[in-house]
Symmetry: C2
Subunit: 440 residues, 2 copies
């Protein structure tokens, strides 16, 4: 089974845990069977490989997510990097051509496209495996999965099937309706469009060539920024005549708000927090190292990270976007996963910013310099070495390294390391970075 | 007018803003007439000197509060330091003997003892000034202020006056009652005992000599730790026959819980926080430099500092003590005012702790060393010099100073300075400190 996992863009709907550089699919609030915390991406990967241990997984995503995916999945999944965001049709076309031209997958192989963010149980991926069987039957060009609605939602598009059979031809598609209209759809046996599409690889690559002028994967990649933004639904699905849908009635939750996340997170409290006996229906996630105390809170979510603190009534949690935009205006994300580990802003004042970084054993930062700032490292724990303007120096806890603006530098971790980085300058920005060559 | 201001002990009733070393009277949530934030101590000082610009103020308090008082009042008030906590009678006796033996106040001078923590308007201190007139009349040894109750509270002791006149002899004192009993007291014209006592200095010093065996202030100070803990009410007030009370009916609020503080704080939001239009009756205090977003919160207080985050229903805010004890067990306070400025813990992990310190221009830390830890300073802003094992070195932003365990050190700020201090060691404690001599 070839799965293309669409790992969507950054979002702030789970702020302060999600931000411009940490998408919600990397927040670890679920648990695997051994009780270890896992993220949406890790959960999906585990579920897919539980159903089909030979499944090949290709994550279609932007460059900003590569470090997080590598940190969380290692090399278990291929990553197809979108040079920029161009909606789902270009993303799926790019991933499909990647499979055909780069991974040499066969034109007759089945590909299933899945979004990364619904919270589902294992039966969902058993259904995904059945889609593969339906594709192999060859009775339709496209096969979709439709979710049995549990209420007349205004949030989803609807698929109206021709029959109420488990697998049916599609009569028509409907945009997100109002509640009254949705009730009408439900009486006709309508299903939510979950964004799960299955097809033969050749079908989709042909469709891509039909709609886009390109030769192969590399060519498509090069001209990706010239493509129009268009959804897969609009470009392909709604125009296809030969199309079937399979019903799915198992657990399926769209974890798009804290209210929804609160329903499915593994523990009511994650992190350093306590509640009194008068708290009811409260979930707390605390990534800070200071404690949270909640007293007499009802139907609320409290979430804290280096980016900020959210205290929200569950019903209101879907309405925070304007406030998040207000408070994060001009504020760079304070936490990020990097290829070499993680960093977190722990202090900022005019003229300086202090970052705490973890560098994993065996990893190193890129060899780089800054134009507008000096930096000072203080090693908190671990051992390794730094290269500063080509000169190697061993470092251990308590050592400091000073790097003036313009000076090339990197650190190589021989054990897990933690360090403070003080950035000093009038203009401090993650943009101020130049890369150099160094043979590690 | 001589005022002895009793600046009570540390408490956690306004956690996380109050902690073991920052008492609630130093939290700046009120505002003066120019709109500048001020603390309880600063407000009381301003109010007293508004009513009597020549008032002499002596703050009776413990050593731990001296830095905060100096930071907030400068040298405007005298400080009478209790070597240890021994309840209010020893504290008042010490302050009275300090006035007589050290400050050479006259035995006939009037002294008024006031607690620091009620929130009152200026008419309160006008009433305090009237107490002085009553003391000068000499009709009684002790003159108290009684607060007109606004409800039959269980939280206060009661004074039953002989008449309902503005000034009356006292019939009897009552301990904190239950609500039904309190209702009975109210029908007899009872007043809340606000802990305001006025007397001639000689009266109180004689009383102290009668109850304690000592010669003068220095002798009392030396043997202070041998004294029994006993309240002024119990030791003096309830045994005194010649005693009058004056009614006070103006604004008087006991700011002992967040619920009460929320009623009187100057702004509904202090610090980086936003609320949505569905929030009602919500107050937020945020001392962190990350934003707080509150959505759909009703009748709540949210307070955040380097010590932790509180999210509480107002009614429940009086019940947080056991939870605060639970989360702060083994946790040292993460913010403190020092004689030289402030410090705040910004990161802690096994083996290291990082502190951000502000040192005010012209100030310096004590010359000291640590036995069990190395330290590294990184100057973030400002200029000054360090003394390390007797050697002076100028420092400015970006400079680092490394101090091995055992090494004596201090920093002297020639401008306002901020710096990071990384502490490295297996056992990190504020107890690990030895002082040395240095001529600054």
């Amino acid at each position: 089974m070839n799965i293309i996992l669409l790992s969507g863009g950054s979002g702030k709907r789970l702020w302060p845990l999600s931000n411009d550089i940490r998408s919600k699919q990397f927040i670890q609030l679920f648990k695997d069977h051994e009780g270890n915390y896992e993220s949406m991406v890790q959960r999906v990967y585990r579920q897919i490989t539980t159903v089909d241990k030979d499944a090949t997984l290709t994550v279609a995503t932007s460059k900003t997510q590569v470090s997080s995916i590598r940190n969380q999945l290692g090399n278990a999944a291929d990553i197809c990097i979108e040079p920029c965001r161009r909606d789902t049709f270009p993303a799926i076309a790019l991933a499909a051509t990647y499979l055909l031209y780069e991974k040499k997958a066969g034109r007759d192989e089945c590909v299933v496209v899945c979004p990364v963010d619904p919270y589902v149980d294992d039966t969902y991926y058993e259904a995904v495996a059945k889609l593969e069987d339906l594709v192999k039957e060859g009775k339709s060009n496209l096969t979709l999965m439709g979710i049995e609605p549990t209420y007349p939602s205004e949030k989803y598009g609807y698929i109206i099937p021709k029959s109420k059979d488990l697998v049916s031809e599609v009569s028509e598609f409907k945009e997100k309706p109002d509640t009254e209209t949705a009730k009408g759809y439900l009486s006709r046996g309508a299903l939510w469009n979950a964004g799960v599409f299955a097809f033969k690889l050749g079908y989709l690559v042909d469709k891509a060539h039909e709609l886009i002028d390109f030769t192969d994967y590399r060519d498509l990649y090069e001209k990706y920024d010239t493509l129009n933004k268009i959804s897969f639904d609009y470009a392909v699905v709604e125009k296809e005549e030969s199309i079937r849908v399979m019903r799915y009635a198992g657990e399926w939750k769209d974890v798009g708000t804290w209210n929804m996340m609160a329903e499915v997170m593994a523990d009511d409290i994650k992190g350093n927090a306590v509640t009194d006996e008068c708290c009811e229906n409260v979930q707390i996630v605390n990534e800070l190292d200071i404690p949270i105390i909640a007293l007499g809170c009802k139907d609320m979510v409290i979430a804290a990270s280096g980016d900020g603190i959210l205290v929200t009534d569950k019903e209101r949690s879907g309405y925070m976007k304007p406030l998040v935009e207000k408070v994060t205006d001009n504020m760079e994300a304070r936490y990020a996963e990097k290829s070499w580990g993680t960093y977190r802003v722990i202090d900022a004042q005019p003229g300086s910013m202090t970052i705490k970084a973890f560098v994993k054993k065996g990893n190193h930062m890129s060899y780089h310099s800054h134009t507008l700032r000096d930096e000072v490292w203080t090693i908190l724990a671990g051992r390794g070495y730094v290269i500063v303007d080509g000169i190697r120096q061993d470092v251990k806890e308590g050592d400091t390294v000073t790097m003036a603006a313009g000076c090339m530098h990197t650190i190589v971790a021989e054990t897990d390391m933690s360090l403070l980085e003080v950035q000093l300058g009038v203009e401090l920005s993650t943009e101020d970075k130049r890369y150099g060559d160094f043979e590690f």
